[in-house]
Every structure is written in C-alpha cells, then in structure tokens.
Amino acid sequence: MAVEQPAYTATTPAGDQTRIHDIGYRGYDGPRLGRAYARRSLYSQSLRGAYGLGRSVKSKVLPMLLFAVMCVPAAIMVAVAVATKAHELPVSYTRYAIIMQAVISLYVASQAPQAVSRDLRFKTVPLYFSRPIETADYVRAKFAALASALFVLTGAPLLVMYAGALLSKMGFAHQTKEFAQGLVAVALLSLLFAGIGLVIAAFTPRRGFGIAAVIAVLTISYGAVSTLQAIADTQGNSGAVPWIGLFSPVTLIDGVQSAFLGGSSAFPGGTGPSGGEGAVYVLFVLGLTAACYGVLIRRYRKVGL
C-alpha cells in the first residue's frame, strides 16, 4: 500500500485529495426531483394509505367497509326515488353527511392515527426530514391527504344521489345547485374533521388510544351539545340554541350549511343560526381548521429532531 500511494495521488485531481476511501461506487448524477416531488409522493402515499391501497388486505377491510356503508343508503334512496318517480330526493344533499356522522367519525378515528401515529410511534419521522422536505411540507401533505380521503368518503354518496336524480329526470338546474352546495359543505367538513383528527392523533401515538380519543371528541361533544340544545329549546330559551351549537364539529357544519348553503337544520326546533350567527359559524370553522394546522406545525417542529 505504501508503495502504491504516491502513484495514486499523482493521477487524481487536486480536488479529491481530502477523500479517505474511494471504493469505486458511482455517484448519482441523474435529475434531483426535489422538495415538491417528495411532498407530492407523501401526499399520494398517505391518500392511498387512507383507503388501504398498497397495503395488506387486512388494512383495506375497514376503510372500504365504511366507504360502502356511506354509499349504500344513498344508492337505496336513489333506487326508491326512481321507482316511485319522486320529484325530490328523500334526503337533501346537505343533510346526508349529518345523518351519517357516526360513520364519518369512525372513519376519521380509524384513519387519522393510521396517517400520523405510526410514524411517531416507530420514530420514523426524522427519516422523512432527512429528505428535502420541511416540517410544513409533511404536515401539509398529511393534512391534505386525510382531507381528500374524507372528501372522497363524503362526496361519493352525493355523487351517487346526483347521478340518480339526473337519471330520474329531476330538475337539472335545481339539483346541480343543491349538489354544489352539498359539495361545499362536505369540503368544509372534510377540512375540519381532518384537522381535529390529525391533531388528536399526533398527540396520542399509542395504538388504540388515538382512535378512542378522536371518537370521544367528535361524538361526545356532539352528544353534550345536542343535549344542552334540546334542554335550552324545551325551556323556551331558543336564542341560546345556535350559540351552544358552536361547541361541536358536527353542529358547526350543520349551522354553516343551514345559514348559507340552503340546508335545513337538525337543531332542535329546526331553527338554524341566522345570517349574523352564521358568519360566526363560518369564522369558527375556518379558525378551528387554521388552529389545527398551526398546532400540527408546532408539534412537528419538536418531533423532527
């Protein structure tokens, strides 16, 4: 070795003198796809993962089952409406998600921990950040993926209803308008639920605990709020009903769509929030979503190291 050394250094260019070993591997000189590509991949992988695509059969069962449970009642309603030649669907587009809220909550509860808890539990998050993505990219990709998955879950039955309504020749303009309003409502719902689910899941990495915590927050808050609303309504205190509704995600969405998106309210007494109160509802929904995003960014700033 000592003999060959001078000859070797003589042939290599001056810039390579700091090298300790050159065991002959080729360096990578192809195109670097960069940060945006990594973010897109993380998004698409998370979105596929939310339905168990590209994962084992066992993990496909639950999301696909919940998806089917979401769509089947819509299909049955369409079939009934077509058979009886009705002029209106039995359930409006905006009401559907409120009726099926238990299924949506279960989906969020099962898939939000799926999206973030495993990375935290097995401490793989630092591996993501060794790629050219930043904290904000990771959070944005996961948030967008879960929101998109929820939008698919809640939007698909609306699409079934819309297609059925058009096939049975209900009024095109009227149905399209209501369908669009329904889509806006479920888009808001998807963003809000995804944010809440991800925040809770990111703080409870233990398996099982995250699921229970998400479902507890979503259903218990709804249970508590609707109990209080019912009591306030029977006590003749109807003015308080919309204000109580601000404290649970489901009633928030219900309030927004009954104020601005032509939905009928499921609040006791059937009186949704008025225009001014509706504006507060919209502010609350947007504010909560933004707050969830901010909390997630804060959470991952510490985790990455």
Binding site: A213, A216, G223
Partner: protein
C-alpha cells in the same frame, strides 16, 4: 386467581402519565354538563333522567369501557411485550382475570362515581334516579370490561370494533330495530336500574330475569374465551 404484580402493571398501563387525564376528561365534561343543565332548568326529574340515560349511560360508560377494557391488554399484545408476561409461570386465565378486575375497577371509578355526582347535582337523587343510574353504570362496567377485554385479545382493531358496537349497534340499530335492543348491554343494565328506581322514569326493553342471565352469561363467557384465546396467542407485526 389474582396476581398483584400483573394488576400493578395494568394499572400503570391504563393510568400512567397523561392517560388518567384523558380518562378523567369525560367524567369532568359530564359534571360540567350537569351543572350547566341544573343552572338552565333547575331540578327536574325528567331532565335528570334524560341527561344520565342519554349521555352518561349511552355514551360515556361504553367509551370508558372501550378505553379501559381494550387498553388493559391491547397495547401489550400489539407491541409484543406481552410475551414477557406470558413467559412467567402464571396461568393465562389468571392474567385475564386480573386484567379484567383492573379494567372493571377503572371503568367503575371513572363512570359510576361521576354518574352519581352528576345525578346528585341534577336533582339531588329525587326518585332514586341518581342511585339507579349509578347501579346501571356499575353493572354495565362489568359487562363492557369483559366484552372489550375479549375483543382486545381477539382483534388488532379492538378499539374500532368496540366503538362500532357501542355507538352503531347500541345507539343506531337499537333505535331502528327493536330486536337489537334485546342484545344490548345498555338495556340489560337499565333493567337493573328500573328495578332500583321503581318509577317510570327509567325503563328498559328487557325484563330483569333475562337481563341478569344475559349479563352474567356474557361476562363469564367473554372472560373464559379471552383466557382460551390468550393460551394460543400468536404475535403479529404491524398491520
């Protein structure tokens, strides 16, 4: 049949660090809710029965039962650390029974005690409503814990299936299909509560003898089968 070391470890798994705070949040919400209701309406027997029946017994007890029942064994099976427990010279049914006792104790403390307090706040135990619902919460704690402990040994998605049972079967199907109500822990415990309260405020779909037999049968069978399941447990990786 009861092993103090296993019990201590299970208590720590269930209540250690911040977990007791999460479990405590639900009962706290119930008490806050009942204070708010009392302030809004004053003491009213019907309202008290509605809040305790609709919120405490129908939502809070099953969710705490799911957390405590599956949490007593699920995470251990999941991360594989249960092999250290199983390799000790302990009978598997002993492990299950000890974990069941701990799960029941935790569920009772976090569901029955707040139910009693909420009942006292709501109407000062008028017509025995607070006591009746507390007994119902105690009884259903036992059945839920046994049922969800079994789920924890059977399935990796025990929490989801437990919640599906508690929320979809008991709440949704129970209100649509009358037959489903006969097969519901909530209705069985309500039958016991009905006997306690005596009035018409607490009603159940099933008679007391049927309810008692079913409660005992479900608890015993679930515990026995969980013990059997743990004897032939296979560990699996993530997913």
């Amino acid at each position: 049949m009861y092993d103090p070391t296993v019990a201590r470890l299970t208590y720590r798994a269930l209540l250690g660090r911040r977990r007791a705070l999460i479990l405590g949040a639900l009962p706290l919400l119930l008490i806050v809710l009942s204070v708010a209701v009392r302030a809004l309406t004053g003491a009213d027997d019907q309202t008290a029965a509605d809040v305790l029946g609709g919120f405490a017994l129908a939502t809070m007890v099953p969710i705490i039962g799911v957390i405590a029942g599956t949490g007593a064994i699920g995470p251990e099976i999941d991360d594989g650390s249960v092999v250290y427990l199983l390799s000790k010279p302990l009978k598997r049914p002993t492990i299950i029974l000890t974990k069941l006792i701990v799960a029941i104790a935790v569920t009772m403390v976090f569901s029955a005690v707040p139910t009693l307090i909420a009942g006292l706040i709501l109407n000062g135990n008028g017509q025995q409503i607070a006591v009746a619902y507390t007994v119902a919460a105690l009884v259903s704690s036992i059945a839920y814990s046994a049922l969800f402990l079994l789920l924890g040994t059977v399935s990796r998605h025990a929490v989801v299936f437990g919640l599906v049972y508690a929320l979809v079967w008991e709440a949704l199907f129970g209100s649509l299909v009358p037959g489903a109500r006969t097969l519901s822990v909530q209705q069985w415990s309500l039958a016991v509560a009905h006997k306690m309260a005596g009035g018409d405020l607490v009603t159940s779909e099933v008679g007391l003898p049927t309810a008692t037999v079913l409660l005992v049968a479900v608890t015993v069978l679930a515990t026995w089968y969980a013990g059997q399941k743990l004897r032939s447990l296979t560990l699996a990786g993530e997913e």
